[in-house]
Assembly symmetry: C2
């Protein structure tokens, strides 16, 4: 499906709630290339000794050997995939522009990556290109956009786009709890690393997930599509429980409801009244969370059920919530251990398109 | 090189020092399949629109199409690799046997995975097989060995080998700080996840790295080879600094010197005097660390240089160190941020073969 609507990137950012201590102090932004890699691989498993040849037949009719190898084992799995690079340019603009305005940034180029004198977060490109040489193309596409549009004035190493090796990124995600950084990575690295970010930030409930694509035809050709996903894997399970009459605890943060409504308002020509409403609603939800009146998955047994939470939020609409303050609180760990069964249900998670609702099957 | 001596697995385990608080309370064991995957991939980058076909030519002369795909982008990277499965059986025995005796385990089958009534650590197989279907073969090979040799008596879910999805593993590695578990994974997952384990356990200096292979010919056919690596990436840099006359701080834990000496003693027919010596030496090194007389990379500026540390350890040899106790201390963060440059040097790290010394180039 991501391919069907020209998926570019899956943006996953940390959610921050005033008055609540989570894992990262400042925002962490992530772009995961939405296409290519092993998710689109072809393979044969259980094949024996022999030779494997991969050939590219170009549009010009020329044939090039991509790889040839001998298999000496009796049992082998052989895998071929490709990384399409063309839309990495779109990913790069989306990423660097987001990093510039994150954390109160002024959205002003040039970046000053090293000195961090401007607001915004520091963008890193994360690959394993030192060993997986074919990943160089992703880095080059990112760097070309950065150097042409976002680079600092010349100076000693100021404004250079930093690169981080994927395995080093697994370590820095744990160390850099101050936040204030962004990472852009290939599809599978993005899958692994964003789940790690979610855990450091306490729960998948505190990280959003927005699929960014582009309309490829029709009146709105080139228009950006944003699909807001539930980033936790239990929504479908919870709805089944609700239908059975059981108590549920569904928090609205991971579903990024407000972001979806805001993007709809943008597409409808900028409905400021909608944005005022979502801003107020977000404030109310945060206030409830901080005061221990969040849903039980985040606030523990003394929190509210889904229905109680909706009633509580509804009762606050229209009231002045600007004075909502409390001592910083820590949420409870929201996620149960994710075994195989739990993950399988997560592929059925609900999501909302920015303009229409649809049920989708995620590829990860 | 790993291929040259029939590499099976890279075992990376947490190092624990009595009296020093590190990340995991109990041991964490890891097996990373030493061959196959993207490390041995063939590829072509920067290729354009066209068709890609991968064909397997079996030893029987039959041709099978592994994959065919159309490329629609102007810039693509195409990648083919294979996972040889034959030696996963050896990996499985090595892993399950190690898990049984870890953490004071008695090395007794059957495992009781769920109830954990016996000592040892719980073995997990980690793959992305729910999406990357070709990884099923690795799981099947692991499970066959487990069920045939290590499985518990029949009972309600007792003794079942647990499986964990790779991205869920990135989260559990952060959550399960009690330790007491093992993980076995494919090559690239193992690269990413062991670095994450190292960071949670405070430093790459507190995790070892042992390449396990098997002699394939000659008198000692089938004999296990163990290559003890320096698990931090700075040994070569540090030796260059030493030769320039600069101060260095080289801790001997990550290099697993003692393990290498013990394995040599085994190969030489079991020299118990050598093992007594290494046991005593390990105790002395741990005592120094706990008392703040470790090397400066782990104990901070008030610690010792490499030469001072060697002198300190030498002065303790032969003394009774059994009474070495101190209040639990925390080490300083040992590793600087690993940028591209730092990692590049790590490919030149020194290592020791169990019987001979050699300089090698790691593939990761």
């Amino acid at each position: 499906m991501r391919r069907g609507w020209n998926g570019i990137t899956i943006s996953r950012d940390t959610i921050h709630i005033e008055g609540m201590e989570l894992g990262y102090k400042k925002p962490v932004l992530f772009e995961r290339h939405a296409v290519g890699g092993e998710y689109g691989a072809g393979f044969k498993a259980g094949i024996g000794k022999g030779k494997v040849v991969t050939v590219h037949l170009g549009a010009d009719g020329d044939a090039t050997i991509v790889d040839q190898r001998d298999l000496s084992d009796d049992n082998n799995a052989v895998v071929t995939y490709h990384n399409p690079i063309d839309n990495v340019t779109d990913l790069a603009h989306h990423f660097f522009a987001r990093c510039l305005v994150a954390d109160g940034g002024e959205g002003v180029v040039p970046y000053v990556v090293v000195s961090r004198t401007r607001k915004g977060v520091v963008p890193y490109v994360v690959t394993k290109k030192t060993v997986f040489k074919w990943q160089e193309g992703f880095w080059v596409a990112m760097k070309e956009v950065f150097d042409a549009h976002y680079k600092d004035n010349p100076g000693p190493s100021a404004g250079e786009l930093p690169h981080l090796i994927s395995d080093a990124a697994t370590m820095q995600i744990i160390r850099w709890t101050g936040g204030g950084f962004g990472m852009a990575a290939h599809n599978y690295d993005g899958d692994m690393l964003t789940d790690e970010v979610a855990q450091v930030h306490r729960s998948p409930g505190f990280i959003n997930s927005v699929l960014i694509g582009k309309k490829a035809s029709g009146d709105a050709n080139g228009e950006i599509i944003k699909e807001y996903e539930a980033s936790h894997g239990t929504v479908a399970d919870m709805d089944a429980a609700r239908l059975r009459g059981e108590e549920t605890s569904l928090n609205p943060l991971g579903m990024a409801l407000f972001g979806a409504m805001d993007h709809s308002a943008d597409l409808a020509g900028g409905r400021e009244d909608v944005k005022d409403f979502t801003a107020s609603l977000r404030k109310i939800v945060h206030k409830c969370m901080v005061e221990g009146k969040g849903t039980r998955d985040l606030c523990g047994p003394s929190g509210l059920t889904t229905e109680q939470f909706i009633d509580e939020v509804a009762s606050q609409i229209g009231k002045d919530v600007s004075a909502a303050t409390a001592a910083p609180t820590k949420p409870v760990a929201a996620e149960k251990d994710r075994g195989e069964g739990a993950l399988r249900t997560s592929t059925m998670r609900l999501s909302m398109r920015s303009s229409t609702s649809s049920t989708r099957t995620a590829t990860a």
